[in-house]
Symmetry: C2
Amino acid sequence: MSGDFAVTALAGGVGAARFLRGLARVLDPARLCVIVNTGDDDEFFGLHVSPDLDTVTYTLAEAADPVKGWGLRDDTFRCLTALGRYYGDTWFGLGDADFATHLFRTHQLRQGKSLTEVTAAITRAWGVRATVLPMSNEPVRTVVHTEAGALSFQEYLVKRRGEGQVKRVELRGLASASPAPGVCEAITTATLVIVPPSNPIVSIGPILALPGVRQALRDTPAPVIAISPLVAGKPIKGPADRLLSGVGVEVSAVGVASLYQDFLDTFVLDRQDADQQQRIEQLGLTVLVTDTIMSDVDKSVALAQTVVEHGRNRQKC
Amino acid sequence: MSGDFAVTALAGGVGAARFLRGLARVLDPARLCVIVNTGDDDEFFGLHVSPDLDTVTYTLAEAADPVKGWGLRDDTFRCLTALGRYYGDTWFGLGDADFATHLFRTHQLRQGKSLTEVTAAITRAWGVRATVLPMSNEPVRTVVHTEAGALSFQEYLVKRRGEGQVKRVELRGLASASPAPGVCEAITTATLVIVPPSNPIVSIGPILALPGVRQALRDTPAPVIAISPLVAGKPIKGPADRLLSGVGVEVSAVGVASLYQDFLDTFVLDRQDADQQQRIEQLGLTVLVTDTIMSDVDKSVALAQTVVEHGRNRQKC
């Protein structure tokens, strides 16, 4: 029976990766497909860097830095330091071993491989059994318009530390982008679709904005379950609160649920936000209240177990 | 007077760099121009690597690894190790800090800069006051034909450790290559031209093969002095003996001198080879016998001092 159970997850960076790490332990990773945001992708030193793809891959390979959440465990930064000699300011953290991934990806892309193909080669090299799909093979670049002007997402998040009032978020390139091969199919053929706790505007938003993805989520016979990325009105990490208010969405679990309500079956709420249950149910969603803060791998496993269990039960309905 | 004294050197890798390190201490480095072989250039992991340019630059910056002769002092190899996950065999040594140079060079070249411009930026970043010129901005690739087939120079030298009988040496791309801006001018306007102890076939040979370079060396009013790369019939390092015999040249100081005789004024011979003085003089060259083995920086300085002194005296003639 578990052989028929196929889970597809939509993922951004750190929060999603923490959840996926638990998820990969409660089901056969070979039955897990992760569709990953590439709106955060950027070029550094001539290399194509895909932060969310790498965070997901390294986490599933159990090789991610457990403290920072991004990059590789015990990595060193000699190359980045040396790049300072040529480039001056080097504000984006790329470790020496991590550089190998960016070199390989860039080399393969220049040789005509698609990001889908390169990502498959990278996950294979790391022994990751889950399928990791980039959301698109065409460039979509998240641009955050703040009072300081238009910033690439990494400039906004890393260089400016997510500071400054957000006026709007632009997905540059979206008009000529389509979902990568397998993305919509992974949603419509799954037995359970999960939206882990990721930033709804800049991590999940770009995936949902691709033509056909939102419709696939509405059409899939699988239950679709999202986990709130906000607890007590604040993100665990990152600037989700400022981005939500910047685009005029209520900074709360209810606000996030409202963004997904057209395709969602169940919204998972942290116990601290149990008072929002009724408002979310009024959106027509089932609400599951549990502990959502994944401060260690056991908590990731417990949350994944609860969500998968709920998904299985929903299917019996 | 020393302000008018401008030295131009033709250089390959390690041997030349050892000499140049001394040379930069016996004259104003701002009056030194080094024309560097790029026939050894190759692509690794999608990056443009220029081993001889880097060896010369790092050496003049006093940052070269003193034991290996190539690469940066105290460099680490985490990125290369990590690349093994994607590429399997990683036989060409590239250190973490060294990667910064290859990244910067590749990035700049892709943005349309010439190798001459990029090299100037790299030497400036290292505080190198000498002018370092690539021999050409067009690709010339040294291919060594051995019994095992056609090998790129790095495959021959590093991967195969210079083993196997050489049948011939090909300079691929030569027909459509020209000397880089400034190369012939640096030869014709110098007050002294030096050919340091470099491999005559694969280090100096590609420079001489570029249209106009050999003629510039014949035409320059400056004395041209070469230092033998062979001592007692053997190179200090590298496969010069096998390459010379492979292309049918006598494996001796006399053999090397014969390759340069049309443009050379003076050939510098190691004391161990003093018995070859007469044969070289019969080629119409002046011979200077001295200690040429640069086992430490003091010996590099002493040899450079002797050569420069000889050059100054030749000018008074």
